[in-house]
């Protein structure tokens, strides 16, 4: 079998490969923006955003999707066109060229401009979330992660979180966060495995971990932050819709990583204040009703 005897088959392969590139481009575009055309409804997308900053993230995502969509489609179509159009014809010679500096400079400048603009725009939400302090009226809750459980430490009626220290941690005694029994500010504090926050009011979480790295992730909030042992990371956001949302752990934390989840329940502000004024036992009694009130 000589090399040249493959030529016939090769030309067909060029057409097939070109068509595959076209299908790839169209198919990907449909998967991202045409699911309702394909399936009658959108099956796979971000869950509805429920935080103040989620709209801005979604918008930045859409702008990027436009840039990426156009570049991706153009590149796949150009590649598909080239392999369909420039298949070997007899003994014709190819165009002899080593390139063009003018073209190199043009496309370098255009891509650089587009990418840098995107990069700068992409920092806005981030800067608002992470470079500003939480507003003074924020509800303050500590989040203490541990292998395979989220603990939430609420300040109680006095609005002040009691001191915590590792030496006081006692899982079997239900002191998961290590609340100092001698600190007066901690007497009215509550420890739960469900996160309850007020709607339309800023929330400041302080993320900690007792053992390994975990990651606090609420897709509907468009929020994610690792929580690390030995560090206390303060973050803030404002939820804008009541409801019940899952909090999966998003950083591999051990063998039962995919079992680690809690609920975040967003409730009206006055109801939240009432809960904070209750004793730990009373607060916990309300939990079942709150969990059942909202559907996912």
């Amino acid at each position: 079998m000589s090399y040249r005897s493959y030529i016939l088959m090769k030309e067909t392969m060029g057409k097939i490969t070109g068509v595959l590139m076209f299908i790839l481009a169209v198919g990907s575009v449909l998967l991202f923006i045409g699911q309702d055309m394909l399936f009658g409804k959108v099956l796979w997308w971000f869950p509805e955003g429920i935080s103040e900053h989620s709209k801005a993230i979604d918008q930045q995502f859409m702008w990027t999707l436009v840039v990426v969509g156009i570049s991706f489609t153009a590149a796949q179509f150009a590649l598909g066109y080239a392999v369909v159009r420039f298949g070997r014809k007899g003994n014709t010679r190819a165009v002899y060229t080593h390139g063009s500096n003018k073209l190199e400079i043009t496309w370098t400048m255009i891509t650089a401009a587009v990418f840098v603009v995107l990069a700068i725009l992409g920092q806005r939400v981030w800067a608002n979330l992470h470079l500003n302090e939480a507003p003074a009226d924020s509800a303050r809750i500590d989040v203490v992660a541990q292998q395979f459980q989220w603990n939430f430490h609420y300040p109680g009626a006095d609005g002040t979180l009691g001191k915590t220290e590792a030496k006081y941690i006692d899982d079997s005694g239900l002191n998961f966060v290590g609340l100092d029994p001698n600190d007066a500010a901690g007497k009215d504090d509550a420890q739960l495995t469900t996160l309850i926050i007020p709607v339309n009011r800023p929330v400041e979480l302080t993320l900690k971990s007792k053992d390994v790295i975990h990651s606090f992730f609420v897709p509907a909030l468009r929020f994610k932050q690792d929580s690390l042992p030995g560090m206390a990371i303060r973050v803030h956001f404002t939820a804008t819709k009541e409801g019940k949302y899952e909090i999966p752990c998003a950083e591999l934390c051990g063998n039962l990583h995919n079992n680690m989840k809690s609920n975040m329940i967003v409730i009206p502000g006055d109801e939240f204040d009432q809960l904070m004024a209750m004793s730990e036992e009373k607060f916990k009694e309300q939990l079942g009703a709150l969990t059942d009130r909202y559907q996912y």
């Binding site: 493959y6 088959m9 090769k10 060029g14 990907s28 796979w44 997308w45 971000f46 993230i57 995502f61 999707l65 991706f72 796949q76 590649l79 080239a82 420039f86 070997r88 003994n91 010679r93 190819a94 165009v95 060229t97 080593h98 390139g99 500096n101 073209l103 891509t111 990418f115 840098v116 990069a119 992409g122 920092q123 806005r124 939400v125 470079l131 292998q147 899982d171 079997s172 007792k210 053992d211 390994v212 790295i213 990651s215 897709p219 929020f223 994610k224 690390l228 042992p229 899952e246 999966p248 752990c249 998003a250 950083e251 051990g254 063998n255 039962l256 990583h257 995919n258 079992n259 996912y296």
Partner: protein, 607 residues
């Protein structure tokens, strides 16, 4: 041509080949034998890694469902016929580590680079042949140690087939990976062996990198100026520089992690850690984030170590079969440098939400998006190379075209992930998994397929079967796109990675049918790889004999017999007269001029 004796450089100083079996095939110092050894090691590793992904797809498509064959395979870790969380994560860790280190880093550089860098520059061997042999055998030992970490419990005869190796992903984040057995199953001996394997691999890669750099700078034949080097050589060279600068960091990090394990040091473990019901008193004062900085300072250049050789090879193959010079040769060389250089300043984009300063996240994000510019330059130049060509659609060409397509698909989603804001919801989801599998996984694998189909005739002296090759291409190209593009929308829906099943999260019920679809496509695509294996074995035994230059290509490896003699150029140093991609030169008698052709039109420079 062996009779041509150049008056100055043509001294015939042949190196006789060793005659004993051991020196010839096992502890050989011949770069070609070592190249094939690396390539075989990667071939073994890629099938192991792929087998693991097959088992993971079973679990992800049908989490919790019982399969009798799983019980047979893993009588303890899957005693009910279902894959346990720890078994899934061990397989995931092994899949990542095997694929990144022993396939993506090994085959393109250690395999093809070893075999073809000396030949393409006109040298008789690598600069340090014994070092070269050592680097392969250290890699081999590293792979053995890694496999042991998976089956570590085999040491205990009561625990046979309780397959629980390291659980940490290929990134092995501390402190989970530093705390030992009290952090859960798979964190004890499994992790110690895993780190040891990686440390050994670092040593091997360092030895290899030194060898590559020295060889390319010092051993080029007469006339082989830097701007006449094939782009494959530039890619291998830049890869070696990246390896030289990044592997020592991982080696150091690995040693520190090992010390935390074995010597009760606390580089990565902070005080006040509370594990399994008690306070850890042996450790205090470590940083939980230090490992990530050290790991990604290596890990990001590593991504380019995996992909750059594929990029070089794609340029080489596209020019060969489009019968056209590479479009913008110099721009291609500078783009490789730019990618290599910028690759050292972007590691923080893996860590936006890790707890490092949000200001540094912004800096890393800006640099990250600029690395897209040289990547785009390469894509434009590949299209420019095809444009106006007379394309011959051989199997290596199809895989090179597939490489360009996958490089675009996988690279472009980096525009989302590189932005701090958009990374908040997408980090550690299947969007990331789709992104890096397309670009660093399958694009690089397509580079290896292209390399195998392209160079097999030279390495083994036989042609591979084109028909089987084309079927293999079609199945693989369609398959990988149908698998990894849907990963992105799963990630947008919020599917976290490294989950042994997404069934437990209510908001992810909608992706379960997608997971099953992907599993089915994966089974078909994996089965399609057997065609490749059959083609390899059949062609090696029964393939038609390859001529010296079956592809009518121009670089030096095609001037010598297939397979080449022990000393490559039979003791005669070749003399190079022109650049590597002189195809379709007007006025030439044939449509290609080899680098050694002294007659014919004088080539213009790369720009």
């Amino acid at each position: 041509m062996a009779d041509v004796v150049h008056p100055v450089h043509g001294e015939v100083h042949r190196h006789p080949a060793p005659t004993s079996f051991i020196r010839k095939y096992v502890f050989s110092t011949d770069h070609k034998v070592i190249g094939i050894q690396y390539w075989c090691l990667a071939l073994f590793a890629v099938f192991v890694g792929m087998g693991l992904s097959l088992l993971m797809r079973v679990q992800l498509g049908w989490p919790g469902q019982e399969f009798a064959f799983l019980k047979t395979l893993f009588p303890i870790a899957a005693e009910n016929g279902t894959i346990s969380g720890e078994l899934y994560l061990s397989m995931l860790t092994m899949h990542g580590t095997i694929m990144v280190f022993f396939v993506l880093t090994t085959a393109p550089q250690g395999g093809f680079g070893n075999y073809f860098l000396p030949i393409q520059i006109g040298a008789a061997d690598m600069a340090f042949p014994v070092l070269n042999m050592l680097s392969f055998w250290v890699t081999f030992v590293a792979l053995v140690v890694l496999m042991m970490s998976f089956w570590v419990n085999l040491i205990n005869p009561d625990d046979m087939a309780n397959v629980i190796g390291p659980i940490g992903g290929w990134t092995g984040y501390a402190p989970l990976s530093a705390l030992g057995e009290k952090a859960g199953p798979g964190q004890g001996t499994g992790v110690v062996l895993w780190i040891s394997s990686i440390a050994l691999f670092c040593v091997a890669s360092l030895l290899g990198a030194l060898n590559f750099i020295t060889t390319m700078l010092n051993m080029r034949a007469k006339g082989m100026s830097l701007m006449r080097l094939p782009l494959t050589c530039w890619a291998w060279f830049t890869t070696a520089v990246l390896a030289l600068l990044s592997f020592p960091v991982l080696l150091a990090a690995g040693i520190l992690l090992l010390l935390d394990h074995l010597a009760l040091t606390s580089f990565f473990i902070p005080g006040g850690t509370y594990l399994s019901g008690e306070l850890v008193k042996e450790h205090a004062g470590g940083s939980p984030i230090l490992w990530q900085h050290l790991f990604w300072f290596f890990g990001h250049p590593e991504v380019y170590i995996a992909i750059l050789p594929g990029m070089g090879l794609t340029s080489h193959v596209l020019a060969t079969f489009a019968r056209k010079p590479v479009f913008g040769y110099r721009a291609m060389v500078y783009a490789i440098f730019a990618i290599g250089l910028l690759g050292f300043f972007v590691w923080g984009h893996h860590m936006f939400i890790s707890g490092m300063s949000p200001y540094s996240a912004i800096a890393f994000s800006l640099v990250t998006l600029t690395i897209g510019v040289p990547s785009a330059i390469k894509t434009f130049n590949w299209l420019g190379t095809l444009w106006g060509g007379q394309i011959r659609f051989t199997t290596p060409m199809l895989f090179a075209i597939g490489f360009v397509s996958l490089f675009v698909s996988g690279g472009i989603t980096g525009l989302f992930l590189g932005q701090t804001s958009i990374d908040i919801p997408l980090h550690d989801t299947y969007f990331v998994v789709g992104h890096f599998h397309l670009i660093m996984g399958v694009a690089a694998i397509f580079g290896m397929f292209a390399g195998t189909y392209f160079w097999f005739p030279k390495m083994f002296g036989k042609m591979m079967n084109e028909g089987l090759g084309k079927i293999h291409f079609l199945i693989t190209f369609i398959g990988v796109n149908a698998i990894f593009i849907p990963f992105h929308v799963m990630g947008m829906a919020g599917a976290p990675r490294r989950y042994a099943g997404h069934d437990k999260l209510n908001y992810l019920q909608s992706i379960m049918p997608m997971n099953r679809f992907i599993s089915w496509v994966a089974f078909i695509t994996i089965a399609g790889q057997l065609i490749f294996l059959v083609n390899l074995i059949w062609s090696w035994i029964k393939g038609p004999k390859a001529s010296d230059n079956p592809w009518e290509a121009t670089s030096l490896e095609w001037t010598i017999p297939s397979p080449p003699p022990h000393d490559n150029f039979a003791g005669i140093e070749p003399e190079v007269h022109r650049g590597p991609y002189e195809y379709s030169v007007p006025g030439a008698s044939k449509d290609y001029l080899m680098q050694t052709d002294s007659e014919g039109p004088v080539a213009s420079h790369g720009d």
